[in-house]
Point group: D2
């Protein structure tokens, strides 16, 4: 199968190239770039020398030569390519935000400042988080015309970390706080002050506090899972969400610490949280550990058939470094010492499960490949 | 003035040596170490060569030669040295947790597994967070016998970030979440798997989730400030606190993102937080920014006489790298997009304001030095 | 094929596990550890969860169950296991230094402070640098009894960077200087002050200057290649070598900058190196570039059949980050501005081509697998 | 004294501001920037908030208001400002290369592609390496009109590491190789692909091999010291120099490993370097250590009055992290195992002794301040 990649010279595009070069179902590439047309990919990425060597073509040429097309472009420019693929009846897997809000143009417009270009494309599109929408992806794939709105990096980690709690009634009323930190590859390939080595290294800081575009995507996913769980039209709204992204001095990885208020029935009976005299918090009791164990088992059961979600055993805490270069999402389950809040910690590689790897996973589902093809890398610890 | 430092070879001890070597009121050192007695400090820290050269003596000798004694020891071993200093009527500044819970031995015992050794020492001790207890420190200093329980690193950043909101009624009912990340010097000088370079670098992870010893110290500080604000005995309990520490791949710094539920009267009137149709969150409105500005002015006013707290102007977000090697605590003020929660972000250098620098600040207060003596380093950006 | 790995819990052992888990010819493992016998590998390396799960057995059991055995042990303890494998007629691939000096026990003893335990094992052993000894490895493999002395990390990068210059008479008389820097995984898994994050990060320093054990291995390889080139018994000694290792604040990678005096016939005719008036050096001329190009072509030709050596085109300089997690050795070719010295720069991943990957490459040669099986990872740039 | 700084917003300029803000002889600043005129320095560097707050003015205004002027500008643009200062009889301290080659315009032109603009300025200028030219700087300072050509970062570390060997006849004939690595602040404040975090982190590579502009400056310094030592007009040329800069994944610091062929009389008598049988190198003998000790004592004596050069004791190897944020140059002395070559390792902070700190040191010499004023920072280990 020939794979087309539009935007092959950006970081997500290059990671797609790298992963797909090891895919048993891929026989060749048609790599396209608007800004580097005519250049060679191995001159831009000398790490590819001897393994991937190709001249960058126009997007139109990539589409005409391919059986599937990925687009790793900024939001707002890819719809014409999607349209061309639909007309040609080949799947289009879009890594931008353009097809992530297909039921809610109002929200897309509010956060991205853009409108849909071709409304009719939404008849063919699906939000490509396999753990949420695998069956819908397969349905559309059978009809040959299909657009994947590949999820954002932060929403992937946040959603997978919270889904079982939402689906199984573990989450009670109240706001869910998603506190995340990303490696600096998340900022892409273009140099800027924010990603200049001396200003990133040895420092940690949040950015776009209370204002990051991934907030509505996270909230929508939470709502979708809560609604699916309720199997009821009446559930209109999911929990309120506060999302804070940070930039951490590392290359790859997103670590999300997710604070989910526990439903009353999931709280330990005898609270250990506070001294009766002073009101000071107390260390966690054995009951806290047991309750965390119960919830962990719900998570394990929920994800038991998922090839890329690992619910970690008690005593192992999710760490971004342990999923590096893999498509895994690791999740560890904890309770606060007072037993009122579930702390789900999720870790992904932002370039793999958070972008290119998930796109390959979607391609595998569409074409009936083994879902792990091209994604078998075992993460190193170092 | 001769300064004694017990535990001079640990990271906090060495940082004390470094800072005090530049203090105009310090004429000499008596450096003590239990494990390295007889060695020379500049052999252990060759970065000191030519500037600080001294043989390490016994703690007793350091006490006998000094006008003030710092102890940078593990919790549970320093009380005999404190007793000796009180008997000699010289101030004892303790960087361990031994004197941080003097009103609540029950809580100290629950989290540290130890009891007080000399109860009577608590007649002379004070929790040394100057922004909370400066006047009490001065009071005790006048009586010549004084023990400082120097605050923990995380509690310093968390407390300073939340104090004005607690004192001025900006915080409403509900749990305050403190999500913090520390540089790896926080783990001290002893090598271990957790701080082994290949297992720390390029990775981010929480640790001791729901179970870190700094939780009760943070909660107690919040309660103390809330009570002080209320000026009423009736206020017995502060807000519930959830605290999650993370380890970040950097040397110095603690960045805390603090989620504080807003009191009803501090919430924007017209919420911008959600679409009426889909319930999806909306980007922050101008009113959100204005409300953040109001709160920022409360913070600025609260800290206007503090030499080491910088409330950052709108548009500048606190970053750990911008306070490196200084005694500053930077605080930036934000609201979530729905206007329900204050996000206060604080940044300190864990080795300075979070440990040795704050200890020097306490010494300055006790002896009537300028509070910034020895602490005038302007942080570099890089 | 079942693969035995003795010392599976060290970094080189774990990297072997990780690489071999993706090898098409490997059907199972027998993982052994002296210090962790009975533990599970995925508890020690949670990054393996769901992919590699096994109980660690005794070395003897691993040998009895396997068709090939790797040992990733300290020098001086593996000979009994080698003996057992020879008796069982299965290949033994040793990552320590024990079988790297089989013709020169005197040198081994001088640098490692140990003698050979079983001299007779040297009848079966070969130094496993495929680019030097591939045919000898194949010869021994056909006889079924075989020990590989897998090369050291620094000697691999240094040798590959200098071999063509030595073999083709580009190197003239004089000392060759190898100035190398390694990532910190090179120090292994045991925590120590030298590899403690706060003391490594943001710093660069040499270590064991003029005294590193890899010096005689590099010198011997240079001599072997020079002798092979000369095809003459008369060539007894190779060039003098100075080798300086540095520790760099990164996880993986070895970058070697190798200074090789040019033979007279390879020096540019019209030197551009110095001003006639002041003796000051001049910028490189076009002739310098051309001469570098000639030498580059010699290198390309020398390595044209090697699957893992990439001679980089003009304008691309070898960088350790561009071979990360791959078995590649990248080499770039330069001349100093005066045209007297060849600067060959080589980059490898110290854990892959410098250790585990090269061991897998040797296994592939022995068993007739494709030499790249299990080693197809394309390096990412980030 | 009012200090003018032209180019205050670049990294070297900002470091000047930071160091001079703590200088006891500095009462105020006139900060100038061409590109940011009218902006405020604390908006560009929020780390300065509360400590250094100033509006950026035109260069002309800075000159008119100041008693000394620093210029931290690209090479080739600062001569008009130097001229204005000479006319006003105030010292001008230039951090660019414009005044580093005042005796050899030919070499400056060859490497920088520019000619001198005002030749007459060279009557007032001196190359500002205090360890080489302190007396000449003082001479010119007495005449009130003075231009300092502040040394380049690499030449500072390389020169100090080699000077005693050149001055005392320890260096024999042959090429000196300077192999250096710099932290990424050396690339300045402007974002670019080379200094983009994801492409720098966890990687090490040389750049401008055989072609870096600091090569002639290093060679000229070596020649100057050799000539000074010989006190003879006949010595026209210094040793040939090969200089290779690398970029290391760290913020600050330059580590130089300098290979200096030993003069015959400085070589150990009984060489330990090679086995008589195999020619393999031997570990260093005691005599090697003793000879290194002799040379170390020569270095110690040479630098005994220098406030910023530390010759490290046996057993301590220079490391860039141990001079961070200080004006120190640390030097350690080693011999290769064969006793033919001196390995001098020098470490500086590229932003301090390599740029802004050395400029302050020059100001101190000119104005008769204590040479360490503003430069008393004791480096931290972490």
């Amino acid at each position: 199968m020939i794979v087309g990649i539009i935007g092959a010279t950006g970081y997500a595009g290059a990671e797609l190239v790298r992963l797909l070069a090891g895919h048993p179902g891929v026989s060749g590439f048609a790599l396209a770039s608007v800004s580097h047309e005519g250049d060679r990919i191995e001159h831009i990425y000398p790490n590819f020398l001897g393994k991937i060597e190709a001249t960058l073509v126009k997007p139109e040429e990539a589409i005409s030569r391919s059986q599937v097309v990925f687009a790793a472009l900024p939001s707002g420019v890819g719809e014409p390519f999607a349209k061309a693929c639909i007309e040609k009846s080949i799947p289009f897997i879009d890594l931008s935000a353009d097809f992530r809000f297909d039921d809610d143009e109002e929200t897309f417009a509010a956060w991205y400042g853009k409108s849909f270009v071709y409304n009719e494309l939404r008849n063919y599109s699906v939000y490509g988080l396999p753990e949420l929408n695998r069956s819908r992806i397969k349905e559309l794939a059978s009809a040959k015309k299909l657009i994947i709105g590949n999820p954002g990096c932060y929403p992937t980690g946040a959603s997978l970390g919270a889904f079982p709690a939402l689906a199984k009634g573990i989450a009670g009323p109240g706001t869910i706080i998603v506190d995340s930190a990303s490696g600096i590859t998340g900022g892409g390939r273009d140099p800027s002050r924010s990603f200049h080595y001396p200003e990133c290294a040895d420092s940690l800081a949040p950015y776009k506090v209370g204002a990051h575009r991934h907030t509505p995507e996270i909230a929508r996913n939470f709502q979708a899972m809560a609604a699916m769980a309720a199997r009821a039209v009446s559930v209109q709204q999911g929990p309120a969400v506060i999302f804070t992204p940070h930039l951490a001095p590392m290359n790859r990885g997103i670590l999300s610490t997710i604070y989910i208020p526990l439903a009353e029935e999931w709280r330990p009976k005898e609270r250990s949280g506070a001294s009766r005299l002073s009101g000071a918090p107390r260390p966690p009791t054995k009951e806290i550990e047991e309750k965390a164990g119960e919830i962990r088992r719900v998570y394990e059961d929920f994800y038991k058939d998922e090839p890329f979600v690992r619910v970690l055993p008690a005593g192992v805490i999710a760490a971004s470094g342990r999923v590096r270069q893999s498509n895994f999402c690791d999740i560890s389950i904890h309770l606060d010492q007072a037993g009122t809040t579930l702390l789900a910690v999720s870790a992904i590689d932002n370039m793999v499960k958070g972008a290119a790897g998930q796109a390959v996973q979607n391609m595998n589902i569409i074409f009936g490949f083994d879902e792990t093809d091209g994604l078998k890398t075992i993460p190193a610890l170092f």
